[in-house]
Symmetry: C2
Subunit: 340 residues, 2 copies
């Protein structure tokens, strides 16, 4: 089945292609009668504009690109859901790429998107991303760029984040108020801003409550397998001396699950012996036993917000109107469950 073109409609009605084109787009300088005839036939033979031609003319694809570290993370799949939903409603389709926490891949993917002529880019950086030329390149191509969740402060563009530092602070403060004193932190990798911020929030909460910060209670999770990281770090910590800690605050729920698994395997009770506090609020965290206290991170809303900003910038860009970058901080909330 060959697609219908303007030309076919024009021939069938014995008028010019230009008139058909204008009729379909309701130009004021086409007679009502002609419009009617054109539209009727177009509908009948199922005319759909060839999007390749439209792209070429308008220099826009109505496609946006998204790069995320992984879709198997509950948080990111929620973000993606928000992105796709809003984009679709506004007539945009979404190309999804996964960096798998790989910086080289992330750079290559930026190029792929740019070469495809996407209208805008949404990205959450990989843990290994430590330079930002590839992001600057997007901007230099006059393609709007919005960073979300895992961002960098080194690039001037719109951003949608949570206040990681504050969220971590509040979580740790909660633990302290509950009476925990020896609080370990299983932090994320060294590069990501959110990993840094959560660590700083943790540290600050300790200091503000007159608890000495002990760097020996901080473990890094950077082996690209959160569950294993949680399990192994718990092992290291506990094997050193299980009375070193009475609570563990982790960079993400999956790490917390690994921790709990190790503790359970070793007959250490949660939260009686050691409390565990996660981050992100994966679905899993609510159904585990014990269910896991965590910080709820609004993924779906983040996706929606990020894409809305991006689409707005695309619109301005297209009209050559200037616009200011947005920096949205979405609220989080503490979810207290059985593990703390």
């Amino acid at each position: 089945m060959k697609p219908v073109t303007l030309k076919q409609i024009a021939e069938e009605l014995h008028i010019s292609i230009a008139t058909v084109s204008k009729a379909l787009k309701d130009y004021p300088d086409v007679s009502k009668k002609t419009k009617k005839r054109v539209k009727k036939l177009a509908k009948k033979i199922n005319y759909v504009p060839n999007s390749f031609a439209v792209n070429l003319r308008t220099k826009s694809s109505k496609i946006i690109g998204v790069i995320i570290p992984a879709t198997v993370h509950h948080f990111f799949s929620n973000v993606l859901k928000g992105i796709v939903k809003v984009a679709e409603k506004k007539g945009y389709l979404v190309i999804v790429l996964q960096s798998n926490e790989n910086f080289e891949l992330e750079k290559r993917q930026i190029n792929l998107l740019l070469n495809k002529g996407i209208d805008g880019v949404l990205i959450s950086l990989s843990n290994k991303t430590n330079s930002y030329k590839h992001l600057q390149k997007v901007i230099d191509h006059d393609v709007p760029l919005v960073l979300f969740d895992k961002i960098t402060k080194n690039i001037k563009c719109s951003k949608v984040i949570i206040n990681d530092r504050q969220a971590a602070y509040i979580a740790v403060e909660y633990l302290i108020k509950k009476g925990y004193r020896k609080i370990a932190h299983f932090r994320g990798d060294l590069n990501p801003q959110n990993s840094i911020d959560r660590f700083l929030g943790y540290k600050q909460a300790l200091l503000d409550n007159n608890i000495e910060f002990d760097k020996n209670l901080v473990y890094i999770c950077n082996n690209n397998d959160d569950f294993e990281d949680g399990y192994n770090n718990a092992k290291k910590l506990i094997e050193k001396d299980k009375h070193l800690v009475d609570a563990i605050f982790t960079i993400t729920d999956v790490v917390a699950i690994g921790v709990i698994k190790y503790l359970r395997d070793n007959k250490i009770k949660v939260p009686e012996d050691i409390a565990v506090f996660g981050f992100s609020d994966w679905f899993m965290a609510s159904v585990m036993s014990p269910s896991i206290s965590t910080v709820h991170q609004p993924g779906f809303e983040m996706g929606k917000k990020a894409v809305k900003i991006l689409l707005k910038e695309i619109k301005f860009q297209k009209k050559n109107k200037p616009f200011n970058f947005s920096e949205i901080v979405l609220p989080t909330k503490l979810i207290i469950r059985e593990s703390s």
Copy 2:
């Protein structure tokens, strides 16, 4: 930063556009010297072909479309990962759409993809899909189509699936061999083939082992929230009489988690009082306590396989060569854990 065009290269080197084009694509009828000059300059000024123009000329976008019920399902996000990975390697980008188990949305999304001029479609049907004209439409547009996981037998095209019936049979048979006799089934919605097949496998396993099939032990999960479905159906079943069953086989792991949650809330021990058996092997199933026995469903491989078939068909289609539809059945395996 304006993109570089062939024209600019041609002007700079005082040769024709045609020659530049051919030189860059290593046509045999361009002198080596010219090729060298062209390529050198192209590289220097960072020439990238305008993909809109290429699309228009070649009538292909090098983009494939994927429709899945949801990305937040561990299984589908794994499939997606496989799809994106292989596609990317072969030079294709992937547009992702989510039907959210909504048939109307699914139909609209097919149109969106078709109108965008994607080169092929991968789809896993929503639970509510009960007619297949939209799929036929894809085929009528000469766009290759591959169904995976949630398929229909009513459309002639390539398919990648598991043997749901057999997998369910083996799972239930395992339960029977373990000594369970009163085995309930929390099945999926009525339309999906895999839901039907798992049910049939369950039934057959009972019959083959001289256990009477009792339709009162079959509950349907179709409220679009697997966890709740599991919880509520368990509630209904147990409240009727908790000695009615000694095992529950569920359509998917999340239902199983809902079941376990209810049982735990009501002091019913798993597996001592009632065993639970899931399906799909979500990551969650392995870290829960009790960990959940399940059928491992190879999502990543399914995605890879499906996209490979699709790309092959795209290639053949483009050359107007005929091809046979593939029907791949991927192996599953039983994962026995604590819950059974």
